[in-house]
């Protein structure tokens, strides 16, 4: 029951209005992003203080972006899945599998003839295929996403090991009749238009496309609707099952894109690629302000979340903080972000927490 019809004859005190407005703003999506940007700036200032010139450096900034790019791409896919109320634990494994399949000898040989894009197509197809399996098992098999994608996490890694025979598959490391195959992939990813690596451009493109898809298309609307209230969406005539399949395919595709980027960066495919990437992606998504229960998602927030973690990692590395401490701080950031999210959500809805 709303109290909106209550008389508002008395003028609202200015202070209340400003405070209320600020609260609404900070509770809104733009406000949350402002909060993240502030956090980012604070982080950069702190980095400048503790790591000095090594941190405040154009080359260092480019390194941060390069390293963040692969995470950013998978996190965009993850944002969609989480916005719909699901979760995809398998993207790291799918990414690993895609790097392996894209770099096995026959694919390299074929890519040597037609071009490196074939490897990208193969990686994306592997991602889409694994995502399709995830989606079908979840939507039609009615297995909860956590379990379905956990199974894929284990299985895809296993398949990757079988295919690669646990060897590192070096790009341009294949020989036919004693002649080395050159796929062109490594050269391509060495390129950096406008001084910025292709990896970063790829991540930027994925992020922009993801933002448009989530905020400006019927696909995005369906995603938010399903996450907000799946039953209501179904009863309104939305094809929930089909859309769920699409979402996991999308997540798989981003893992495929990330796979080819990772191969470009490391010049090799390996079954161990992408280990624990799913957790980094989930962390970035949650810190970015996407609700884990679904119904609200933000690509901008996700990207900011990825940047926060990447910069933090960079600072820690610069000042030689041990890995264990890095992990602890990461954990603390995730909890702090979720706590803040809850506070704002409560204020925004003007609701008391459930008793």
């Amino acid at each position: 029951m709303s109290d909106s019809k209550a008389p508002t004859a008395e003028p609202t005190p200015l202070a209340t209005r400003i405070l209320g407005g600020a609260r609404d703003y900070l509770g809104g999506s733009a406000g949350r992003n402002v909060g993240l940007i502030v956090a980012l700036i604070v982080l950069i200032v702190v980095g400048g203080i503790v790591a000095g010139d090594r941190f405040i450096d154009v080359q260092n900034a480019l390194i941060i972006l390069r390293l963040a790019s692969v995470s950013a791409v998978v996190a965009v896919g993850m944002t969609f899945v989480i916005t719909s109320g699901g979760i995809d634990l398998s993207i790291g494994s799918i990414l690993g599998l895609a790097t392996v399949v894209a770099t096995i000898a026959p694919v390299q040989v074929a890519a040597g003839q037609v071009g490196w894009w074939l490897m990208a197509v193969v990686a994306i197809a592997v991602g889409a295929g694994a995502g399709l399996v995830n989606g079908a098992v979840i939507a039609y098999g009615k297995v909860v996403p956590f379990i379905a994608t956990l199974a894929m996490l284990v299985a895809a890694r296993g398949v990757a090991e079988l295919v690669s025979e646990k060897k590192t598959l070096v790009v341009d490391g294949v020989f036919v009749d004693g002649v080395g195959v050159r796929t062109g992939l490594v050269e391509f990813f060495r390129g950096s238009p406008l001084g910025i690596s292709w990896l970063v451009w790829f991540a930027l493109i994925v992020a922009v496309v993801g933002w448009l898809l989530l905020n400006r298309t019927t696909f995005g609307r369906r995603t938010v609707a399903i996450g907000g209230n799946e039953e209501a969406a179904r009863l309104a005539g939305i094809k929930v099952k089909r859309h769920t399949v699409y979402l996991y395919v999308l997540s798989g595709v981003t893992a495929g894109i990330a796979a080819i980027m990772l191969v470009g960066r490391t010049t090799a495919g390996s079954s161990t690629n992408g280990t624990l990437y799913e957790l980094d992606a989930i962390a970035a998504v949650v810190v970015g302000g996407t609700l884990l229960i679904g119904g609200r998602g933000t690509i901008t927030g996700t990207i900011l979340g990825v940047l926060i973690f990447s910069i933090l990692l960079n600072i820690f590395t610069q000042i030689n903080v041990p890995n264990s401490i890095q992990d602890v701080s990461k954990g603390l950031i995730i909890i702090a972000a979720v706590l803040l999210q809850q506070r704002f959500a409560i204020r925004r809805n003007n609701l008391k927490p459930k008793l």
Partner: protein, 506 residues
């Protein structure tokens, strides 16, 4: 009211005000509640009833005014403080935990235990005693609450209140989730409570219930109490409606225009079956006709709607729209064929509560406004604004979050959704649940307008009066079969009750 009444008041609330970010929710509410009485609080949606409940239950703090308990001024600083005073609140969305047993629910948060070991036997014994006090000995303490009906969940909620040594129970529309038989049971429980000296603040939209159970009435309008402590026996219904709405309400049901004589059959249902619930169902709905399904809860009436809609997969028979058979168990086929449904549970099945009004309105049709997959939110907003105006939906802000709206306005969102989508058949399951008197009349009028414009309507309601008052034709459902079909003018409430009871006994 005479002076010494205040001294005997259990709860005395004087001049409570409460504002949220400048908007006044309560602008001066006073009421006094005496031990052992049922005090009804009436008011339209948005009148401030919820805020008042929250103030009394300690969830909100009043800005001004005083609350006295047993003659002493108190601050109810939190829900726990309210419980300690002896005030329990039963919200519409019951706060019972489905996965726990009745006893576990009742002692939730104050389990008796030694060294972490629960005294299961003792809690079960005390639960049995509490249930007996409420006249429900048939419930077993070890039954899982999830398996209980809404009515029995309320019993559990009340037993929990009693376990806290409660003097006052606030019930927020307890009858909204019950059917006629269950309401009778609820009333006998309430009488049981009041005979033990416990006071009840009873909030409901159903005036006839208040007449049956209430002792005194307080009417709230626009955040102020218009009249406080009127004796039910001395206040006429039109008087109450006038106090609530500020205007006289003649009749809340619109005139029956009925379908045109040559109206085409829109929906055909042929030997439809859902195993275990209903079978051999045959009926038709014609363009412009309102057909009502009357029956008890559990008679399968909601399930019939859901099966027609494809939300449940039928196990036999067929459903046709304009003569074409629909695919079983497929909502999107049904929607594409021109069926819309306003489901029973508005909040959990109908709305995306955290999305704005306009997106809720266009949930079934946003694809149509989109161009090649690109949303056109401007058109969506303007279409929604049109609906908001024509349905008098308040607040009239397309970007307002659906959660913040009253029940009646949320119902209007669902009607608007299907108006925008355009349907030939509208399935309405409990269209006025949790909707107050004034808004109810508006919704009835809207439904009739839709029918007059040629929409076929299939209606389910647990209020027989509503089915009879709104429909052209009534199908009485008992034990998963149609036991009678009659023109609404040819059948009385008593006939329907006799038919469903006979069916239930057979």
């Amino acid at each position: 009211m005479i002076k010494d009444d205040y001294q005997t008041s259990l709860l005395d609330v004087r001049g409570i005000t409460k504002s949220f970010a400048g908007a006044r929710a309560l602008a001066g509410v006073s009421l006094d509640v005496r031990a052992g009485e049922v005090h009804c609080v009436l008011g339209q949606n948005g009148a401030g009833k919820s805020t008042l409940i929250k103030v009394l239950s300690g969830a909100h703090q009043p800005d001004e005014g005083t609350i006295s308990w047993n003659g002493e001024q108190v601050d109810i600083s939190s829900p726990v403080a309210a419980l300690q005073l002896g005030i329990a609140t039963m919200y519409q969305e019951l706060d019972v935990v489905d996965g726990l047993t009745i006893a576990e629910n009742i002692f939730l948060g104050h389990e008796t235990a030694t060294g972490g070991m629960l005294h299961v036997a003792r809690m079960n014994r005390e639960t049995r005693a509490l249930l007996a006090r409420l006249g429900h000995r048939e419930l077993s303490p070890s039954t899982e609450v999830g398996s209980l009906s809404a009515a029995n969940k309320q019993i559990v909620s009340m037993a929990r209140a009693l376990s806290h040594d409660i003097k006052l129970i606030i019930m927020d529309e307890p009858s909204a989730v019950l059917d006629a038989g269950e309401v009778t049971k609820l009333f006998s429980v309430i009488r049981e409570l009041t005979s033990q000296g416990i006071a009840v603040i009873y909030i409901s939209h159903r005036l006839e219930e208040i007449r049956e159970i209430g002792d005194r009435i307080t009417v709230i309008k626009d955040g102020s109490s218009m009249a406080s402590g009127l004796l039910v026996s001395e206040t006429s219904t039109p008087e109450v409606i006038k106090l609530m709405t500020g205007r006289a309400v003649d009749s809340i049901f619109p005139d029956r225009t009925g379908p045109k004589p040559d109206a085409a059959v829109v929906l055909g249902v042929e030997s439809l079956e859902l195993r275990g619930l209903f079978s051999g169902l045959d009926f038709e709905v014609r363009a412009g006709e309102i057909v009502g399904l009357a029956g008890l809860v559990g008679s399968g009436r909601s399930e019939i709607l859901e099966t027609v809609y494809g939300a449940r997969r039928s196990t036999g028979g067929r459903v046709t729209m304009h003569g074409k058979t629909l695919r079983r168990g497929s909502v999107d086929t049904a929607v594409a064929a021109g069926i819309g449904m306003s489901p029973e549970e508005r909040k959990s099945q109908g709305l995306i509560l955290d999305e704005p009004i306009f997106r809720n309105i266009t949930l079934s049709s946003f694809t149509r406004f989109a161009k090649a997959g690109w949303l056109d939110e401007r058109t969506e907003r303007s279409i929604a604004r049109g609906q908001i105006e024509s349905l008098d939906l308040r607040p009239a802000e397309p970007d307002r979050i659906a959660r913040t709206l009253s029940g009646g306005n949320q119902q209007k969102i669902l009607l608007a959704r299907w108006l925008v989508h355009g349907t030939d058949l509208l399935l309405l399951d409990e269209p006025t649940r949790g909707v107050d008197v004034g808004a109810r009349a508006e919704i009835y009028a809207l439904i009739r307008q839709l029918a007059d414009a040629g929409t076929a309507i299939l209606l389910v309601s647990s209020e027989i009066e509503e089915v009879l008052g709104l429909s052209d034709r009534v199908l009485v459902i008992a034990d998963g079969a149609v036991v009678s079909t009659a023109a609404a003018t040819d059948i009385t409430e008593q006939d329907v009750l006799d038919l469903v009871m006979k069916g239930a006994a057979a």
